[in-house]
Assembly symmetry: C2
Homo-oligomer: 338 residues x 2
DNA sequence: GATATTTACGGAAACGTTTCCGTGAATTTG
DNA sequence: CAAATTCACGGAAACGTTTCCGTAAATATC
């Protein structure tokens, strides 16, 4: 029942505390014989260093924070899996935070994280139109930050990992055009987040370049699914588009339900494509054509970028770096020519 | 650029360190006037207490660990969301670990967690047939443990949160019988984990009681999806069951793919039911009948149970407690009578 | 009005590490 | 072989809190 700490090991081995500490960290100023003895006893007694003590002394916690909106779709699950692969290999730990799209909560998380709880932060922002002054707190304390997917486009410096949303949106829109669509609607994400804006810009530009459609047709959704369901139903009945481009997975799912409700057949009456990482997209009725982001890869890349910052000697965070990964088009029956 | 710690606040206010500390913790032995001053300055300077220091001193970290196999399906995402709701409200932090089904990794996680990194552990085991001696490390250090879903059935003491797997398996099997199935196959999870065993027992007992089927038909799957795909294909071709009961979601997905491959129509040729938390189950082709576990609720409950242990005065962990939550049957077209 | 209690605060120890500084002994150097 | 360096380790400070113990003044008790 005795707590086994370095002091206990030292007493047991008739060594000084400092010697034991150095031995455990494999210091060169300790003889091989002594090291062996220390390792053996540590192993035998199942010694584990106290992370608070080393964290307090050395100012490094071996922990990183992952701050994301939530985990309602497969995208963030995959990102986290990618992050975990890296942290695992580096012996780091993951602290997980959900902002639930609440900007205030995000600010409060970041502020507490700036107190030395973690060595670095991975962030996918809940809303990007707010002020971003709070991110400065991290910088002030020298805690590296890497943003991914939902990044802050007005922030110049910093490392950002995203996917090619603009190009993918063009590809998606053109895919609908090629499938024969004459009137394509775009379902916009609730919040005014940058990925939504960029994707919509791709849709708009692609319409101009590749389609005969005169005016864009955009439905702004809300966070209330029922509300969005109704709005979409009205829009489909009124405007009768023959193609739907959903900017996020949830909207495609709602779209499927609306089509079922008002007896619109996919892909015969209307074709659907969506940004999505749904692993069962190919099993849907009909199988959903998706733009699939490299979610796992985004996680891995963001984590690697963060560790680069953490291990950097000089803490000049003035680096600016944009890593853009490629999404891919996965064709399903929802956009098939019939 | 000055680090703002308690010492700095104290100097600034001409107070002792101890006074500032007590004021911040709203101690009764500090006058209202002094508290106000301290709070004001702390607010103004954005003071955040150093978690390592308080953790080291007070032996409480305000963190809990969540150890799960992985996040490849929606079940664990939902569980974590439930956990997060509780930790969030208690001001706690979540450390997330994936064992990837590797028992050795799980042991090593638990061992390092026993060093005082967290105040409690939530665990869903990767494999339950191995020795469980390592769990004693936590108990020895007085760190509470709550197991959920994949619990250790041979461990007598401890708190466990599960769902009614046995009863649900009976309901699922009977549902297939009621749908007209004469030959029902059971797809067993790869590892010999307790949920799998319990569910299979429900299947076996239900067969005896509710069906005319003479012999059970069980396919043991492996972690290799391709291998399982082939095995299932052979089994379907050879045995020609007219009902499939998948013990986990992944097996249902594989089943769908196999049926597509060998042109078996669901539900006309074969009916399928599965344990699953897939949020798009109703959108599959055909919509999948599921036994849906109360995943979010499991997370909430497990977290609440853990906090009960953490806040318990006497650390006698001898409590034994089994919380069982109800799953529900969600009917889809995959088991429809035609 | 002398003693007991409460109030409000200060000083210092303690939590378990890491690391700076020091120091004899052993080894190398010129 | 004296001086310089290296080797292998010990002592103690420091990280930022929390809390035990002490204490002077203020208030309460009989």
């Amino acid at each position: 029942m005795n707590k086994i700490d370095i002091k206990y090991l030292a007493k047991e081995l008739n060594l000084a505390i400092s010697t034991v500490s150095r031995a455990l960290r494999d210091s060169h100023e300790i003889s091989a014989a002594t090291k062996a003895k220390v390792f053996a006893l540590a192993e035998q007694l199942n010694y584990e260093p106290n992370p608070n003590a080393s964290g307090l002394r050395g100012q490094k916690t071996k922990m990183i924070a992952v701050v994301i909106p939530d985990m309602v779709n497969d995208f963030f699950s995959l990102v986290i899996s990618g992050i975990e692969k890296i942290t695992q290999s580096k012996g780091y730990h993951i602290l997980l935070y959900f902002t639930h799209g609440d900007h205030e909560l995000e600010v409060s998380f970041i502020k507490t994280l700036a107190s030395g709880r973690v060595d670095g932060v991975l962030l996918s922002m809940s809303s990007e139109n707010n002020n971003r002054h709070y991110l400065g707190e991290l910088e002030k304390k020298g805690i590296p930050l890497v943003m991914f997917d939902r990044v802050c486009d007005t922030l110049q410096h910093g490392v950002k990992v995203t996917s090619d949303n603009y190009e993918s949106a063009i590809i998606a829109t053109r895919h609908l055009v090629d499938a024969g669509c004459k009137k394509i609607a775009y379902l916009q994400v609730p919040k005014n987040i940058s990925v939504g804006k960029v994707r919509m810009q791709g849709y708009l530009d692609a319409l101009k370049k590749h389609s005969f459609q005169t005016a864009p047709l955009v439905l702004e959704s809300t966070n209330d699914n029922e509300e969005t369901f109704e709005a979409l139903k009205q829009m489909l009945l009124r405007e009768k588009p023959d193609g739907i481009f959903a900017s996020i997975e949830k909207l495609a799912v709602i779209c499927y339900r609306v089509c079922e409700k008002i007896r619109l057949k996919i892909p015969e009456d209307i074709k659907v494509i969506s940004f999505s990482n749904l692993q069962t997209a190919s099993l849907l009725n009909p199988s959903l054509t998706t733009i699939t982001q490299p979610a796992f890869d985004i996680g891995e890349t963001a984590a690697n970028e963060l560790f680069n910052l953490i291990n950097k000697k000089d803490k000049s965070l003035a680096v600016e770096r944009n890593v853009v990964l490629k999404s891919r088009l996965v064709k399903g029956r929802s956009t098939a020519r019939y």
